[in-house]
Amino acid sequence: MELGLLQVWEGGWISAILRGAAITIALGMASMAFGAVIGVGCGLIKWARIFPLTLVVDFYTSVVRGVPELLIIYLLFFSSVEFVARVAAAFGYEGLAGNGYAFTIAVVAIAAISGAYSTEVVRGALAAIPSGHIEAARALGIPGRRIFRRIIAPQMLRIAIPGMNNVWQTTIKDTALVSVVGLQELMRVAFVGAGSTRNPFIFYFIAALVYLAITLVSQGGFDWIERLLRPRTRK
């Protein structure tokens, strides 16, 4: 059998791939959650043009969106490895290059990338809120914080959902890049499997199928949320 389907089955690779997929999803979700927090914070700063901060945010989003993700991941991993090893050695832990550390750095890297894209989505959503709504709320004498909670936030959320869907899709695909620095996620498992069984085709094919399944399922989920949040208006 040229493709080695049997080897995949007998070598216990199926469970390894599923474990890798679980790590990919966990990594994607954690990065997306942190990215969304960064996005809302920076998006608000960019929308309100809070003076010195808006320059910092502009710098952050244009650098992260203009430089390849791989380069950012290399920067964070290589610059942190030495630092973390030194800190760990100072506290008497040798060989801390375990999965927990790799996962943390991976979340930082992917969250930084996804945060930059979320910022633009949130800023766009805030800009899409009709200014009349906010003026009307001010005219009614509603205090600023409640305007945000009752008028701005709900609309922003609804408008941002399709954009956040796109960010999520790119985020889950970006997690594959972390494999180059050795976190045992889906792509890494496929890489290791391809190397040890010498059947790269079937392993990368399975990995592609799993990624496709993840994106298709989450697409369905986002469509459902979008339908749920659609305002109930008269036709």
Partner: protein, 228 residues
């Protein structure tokens, strides 16, 4: 900042710049034409053609570029009929050729979605008027539909170009030494990680700035009839 290091790094990374630019140009040139063909297929009334285009764009947009790259480079290289076929082996056997193929196929999927949006935005009356004038379908596409669609799609296509430039960095994972490949090598040789990152990042930002400016100029040229 260490100046000796800068003198070492800049010429090396500039060498990578040429390869990055070549990878980008080649994959965009192939990917745009493929994407245009896919967009037209997607909008055709033929079920099989539009189904194929839809499936193609779902698969290529639903999987990471890295997986596609490895599947082509390592996966197809394993199959004996690919290795025995000189044309296929020319594509798959070399890292740069393989990277261009994968990038072109990937960007074609995104381009097809962008162009489809542009093509769908054209008012039906324009096409009907062209038909009433007796234009053939090809002439109508060349003179009416395509110029209007591209004008509509250009801003989104500019973003896609930036994504292609960033995508070329993945070629470094299959032995192609473009900017990121050289940067990674220099990082592990010199340990001056932040400096190398800054220089490599600036080169990428420079490419993207040039591309975006070109797209803006083209857009201004195409919409020159509009009042400003």
């Amino acid at each position: 900042m260490n100046f000796e290091l800068v003198f070492l790094a800049v010429p090396t990374l500039a060498k990578g710049l040429r390869l990055t630019a070549m990878l980008t140009v080649a994959s965009v040139a192939i990917g745009f034409n493929l994407g245009l063909a896919l967009a037209v297929m997607r909008l055709s009334n033929n079920r099989a053609l539009s189904g194929f285009a839809k499936g193609y764009s779902t698969v290529f947009r639903g999987t990471p570029l890295l997986v596609q790259l490895f599947l082509f480079y390592y996966g197809l290289g394993q199959l004996s009929f690919v290795r025995d076929n000189p044309v296929l082996w020319w594509i798959v056997g070399d890292g740069a050729h393989c990277a261009v193929t994968a990038l072109a196929l990937n960007t074609a999927a995104y381009t097809s979605e962008i162009l489809r949006g542009g093509l769908m935005s054209i008012p039906g009356g324009l096409v009907e008027a062209a038909q009433a004038c007796g234009m053939s379908r090809l002439l109508c596409f060349r003179r009416i539909t395509f110029p209007l669609a591209i004008r509509q799609a250009l801003p989104a296509y500019g973003n896609e170009l930036v994504l292609v430039v960033k995508g070329t960095s993945l070629a470094s994972t299959i032995t192609v030494l473009e900017i990121t490949g050289h940067a990674k090598r220099l990082m592990s040789q010199t340990y001056a990680i932040l400096e190398i990152f800054a220089i490599a990042g600036l080169l990428y930002l420079l490419i993207n700035l040039v591309l975006i400016t070109l797209v803006r100029l083209l857009e201004a040229h195409l919409t020159r009839y509009l009042p400003r």
